[in-house]
């Protein structure tokens, strides 16, 4: 299993997302997953091999590396991407469920021609009712996971800059030993980039939440026919 098959799984959800959702998915795939795979992995590729400590003591390198890098940036970002994308599958499941019901209805009603069944497959689902709630929950979870990982990142690696030199004195290193990180500047660049894109994704998710809520409110207000105030509010919202 690799990112390509993951992409195949996720892009099915794309059709039923809002416009902002599609933008979010594109940003995720292009600016995060693609950059991770094509660029960032080669930057961090030799992080252990070229982590050099100023000592001949065997084992000191390993121990110091382990002390300063409990989990590599690459793995953290990979886990973050997986966790952040997973709530979309909730929506996909719900849509599949609804489609299945529709199919059953059609079949029961006798409309079993391939054209009808095809129509169910290609029909775009409106985000209403229970699906709206599922979608909202998935968005909230996305924001939650994204923020949690950003916080975790901050806890493990405070600051965005990659250090050039670390001083280490864990056993078996004798006294304090200077250790040098490989490609610190390049790593800093990519760290800033990935953090910035995470922030953009969070903003997109929040914007999508607001958009969905506003749409639902305006729809609700439009439906309430006996409310002049409602009509006025919905008109105001639409003019946005």
């Amino acid at each position: 299993m690799n990112w390509a098959s993951f992409y195949a799984v996720l892009s099915g959800v794309n059709r039923h997302s809002t416009g902002i959702g599609r933008i979010w998915l594109s940003v995720l795939f292009i600016f995060r997953i693609l950059v991770l795979v094509v660029a960032a992995e080669s930057v961090w590729g030799d992080e252990k091999a070229h982590f050099i400590c100023n000592t001949q003591q065997p084992g000191c390198n390993s121990v110091c590396y382990d002390h300063f890098f409990p989990i590599s940036h690459i793995r953290l970002w990979a886990l973050q991407l997986i966790m952040v994308s997973t709530p979309a599958l909730l929506v996909a499941m719900h849509i599949a469920h609804r489609r299945h019901i529709d199919k059953k209805l059609y079949r029961q009603a006798g409309r079993t021609s391939p054209k009808d069944l095809e129509q169910i497959k290609t029909q775009k689902m409106k985000i209403t009712g229970a699906l709206w709630w599922t979608y909202m929950i998935s968005l909230l979870f996305r924001v939650l996971f994204e923020s949690a990982f950003m916080y975790l990142f901050y806890m493990i690696y405070p600051g965005y800059k990659m250090f050039r030199l670390v001083k280490c004195d864990s056993y078996p290193c004798p006294n304090i030993v200077d250790c040098f990180v490989s490609r610190p500047t390049e790593k800093t660049v990519f760290t800033i980039f990935m953090l910035a894109v995470s922030g953009v994704c969070i903003l997109l998710n929040i914007a999508e939440i607001i958009f969905l809520v506003a749409r639902a409110t305006s729809r609700h207000l439009n439906n309430s026919k006996d409310s002049a105030v409602g009509a006025w509010i919905s008109q105001k919202l639409c003019s946005f």
Partner: protein
């Protein structure tokens, strides 16, 4: 990592034949195990041996110490775990495909037989009946999933149990081999190392994080397996208690009140006898009998009130086979579409008024041999319902339910309306049901009613429909 494509494509096929919990389990397997293994964990264990450093110059010492510290690399171990945990699903899938093929053959045979019958018969009604059966068979053709019953159900349960056992085995194995986390220092005393040698593991913290992660995911998979076993077990128990009358699988979708369009269609659409009737406002016990639907959570279909169907049916016979599948006619379907399109309550009311009118009409007409097809039809409907199941009776009663509900000025929420109609139905229970047709079901109903009556205040009239709704009430309470 190598090519997961083969296993992935096979598991996609398994996906089709799984229940909803099975599908979630498969998704977790794909994403949290295979994907994480492929894109993240492998890189961590890449330099496992090359960066395993020992504080000695003794040739060979590092190799033997590495071998002692890591009998099997955790990456390979997890790959084996995934393969072994997936393999029972392959066995189940094989059985499901075999069953599907058998069903297909049966269907073909029956179709050929019916075609022969069609050519032979002269009577118009027989013609119609046979044509309907043929249509029904054509419908079944579309089913790509073998229904989960009989030996297939046994295979399914067995495969889940095997999966759980294998999962537990691998979790215990990982704990025995490596514990919860990896220590950075490993002291080695194996030949040819002189005395005790310090060896250092590369990236122990990162590896510990992934070990814990994979343990948690394995635990989650195990939990899902147990959940599925429990779910199937509960269904079986309820089936034993209530008898093989209910299939809650179809109910569950209709039960969820989120989609009231589905609810209405559930009331009004037809269901084959294999599929169980949906009772919209009931949270019926999920009980798969031998005819359990293959997709447990996707079965919302219920039959329309028989009064709509039966006029098309056999006017003479009161022995329509219980397994008949009545398709809604074109006008019915248009009504269905109308339901979806227009305001829910209004269509519901109109639909049910028509339903109730048809129901009440025959009710007043007395014994089944009255003139007019409709009264006969509706009573025939009750004839038909009895041998089939109590669930079919509830369809009629359900129709009455809603008619009562729509009659009341405020239709409130469903449960209260149901209770109201429950009582009113009890009061208005007509004795016009012919004894011979109802006796069988009455005994069943009475048996069930006796079983349930302690839990519910007995209604004034202890009719068949009364006990039916009592059961529904009870099961809905129990569900909550």
């Amino acid at each position: 990592m190598g090519d997961w494509n083969l296993l992935g494509s096979i598991l996609e096929e398994v996906h089709i034949h799984s229940t909803i919990v099975g599908k979630i389990w498969l998704t977790i397997l794909f994403i949290f195990r295979m994907l994480v293994l492929g894109v993240a964990a492998e890189d961590v264990w890449d330099d496992e041996q090359s960066e395993f450093v020992c504080n000695t110059e003794q040739p060979g010492c590092k190799n033997v110490c590495y071998d002692q510290a890591f009998p099997i690399s955790l990456i390979r171990y997890w790959v084996l775990q995934i393969i072994f945990v997936s393999s029972p699903s392959l066995v189940y899938m094989g059985h499901a495909l075999y069953r599907l093929r058998t069903l297909e053959k049966q269907r073909h045979k029956k179709k050929a037989q019916l075609k022969v019958e069609l050519e032979e018969t002269e009577a118009l009604e027989d013609h119609k009946r046979i044509e309907k059966e043929l249509k029904k068979l054509d419908e079944q053709k579309k089913v790509r999933k073998a229904p989960l019953r009989g030996s297939l159900l046994r295979t399914y349960v067995l495969h889940i149990l095997t999966r759980s056992v294998v999962e537990v085995g691998f979790i215990v194995g990982q704990y025995v081999l490596y514990g919860i986390g990896l220590a950075p220092l490993y002291k080695c005393e194996r030949d040819p190392c002189p005395n005790s040698v310090d060896c250092f593991v590369s990236r122990p913290t990162e590896k510990s994080i992934f070990m814990i992660f994979m343990l948690v995911i394995a635990g989650a998979s195990l939990f899902l397996n147990l959940l599925e076993i429990f779910h199937l077990g509960v269904r079986k128990i309820k089936q034993t208690i209530y008898g093989s009358k209910y299939n809650g699988d179809e109910d569950s979708v209709c039960r969820s009140k989120k989609n009231s369009m589905v609810q209405q269609v559930c009331i009004l659409t037809n269901s084959s006898p294999q599929k169980h009737m949906h009772l919209t406002h009931t949270s019926l016990a999920v009980v798969p009998d031998k005819q359990t639907e293959s997709l447990p959570l996707y079965m919302p279909m219920a039959g329309p009130p028989p009064s709509h169907e039966v006029p098309k049916g056999d006017p003479s016979g009161s022995e329509q086979p219980p397994r008949e599948n009545r398709l809604p006619s074109q006008p019915e379907f248009q009504t269905l579409q109308q339901l979806g399109a227009t305001e829910r309550r209004s269509t519901l009311d109109s639909r049910l008024h028509s339903c109730s009118s048809e129901e009440s009409g025959p009710k007043g007409s007395g014994p089944p041999r009255n003139v007019g097809e409709q009264p006969r039809a509706s009573l025939r409907a009750s004839h038909i319902e009895i041998p089939a199941a109590l669930r079919k009776q509830s369809r009629v009663s359900q129709c009455k339910d809603f008619s009562e509900e729509s009659d009341s000025p405020e239709s409130g929420n469903y449960p209260t309306a149901r209770k109201a109609s429950f009582m009113s139905r009890g009061l208005s229970e007509s004795p016009s049901d012919s004894p011979d047709s109802k006796s069988g079901s009455d005994t069943e109903a009475n048996r069930i009613a006796q079983g349930e009556s302690p839990a519910i205040t007995p209604p004034p009239a202890a009719g068949r429909r009364m006990s039916m709704s009592m059961i529904l009430e009870l099961s809905s309470i129990m569900k909550k």
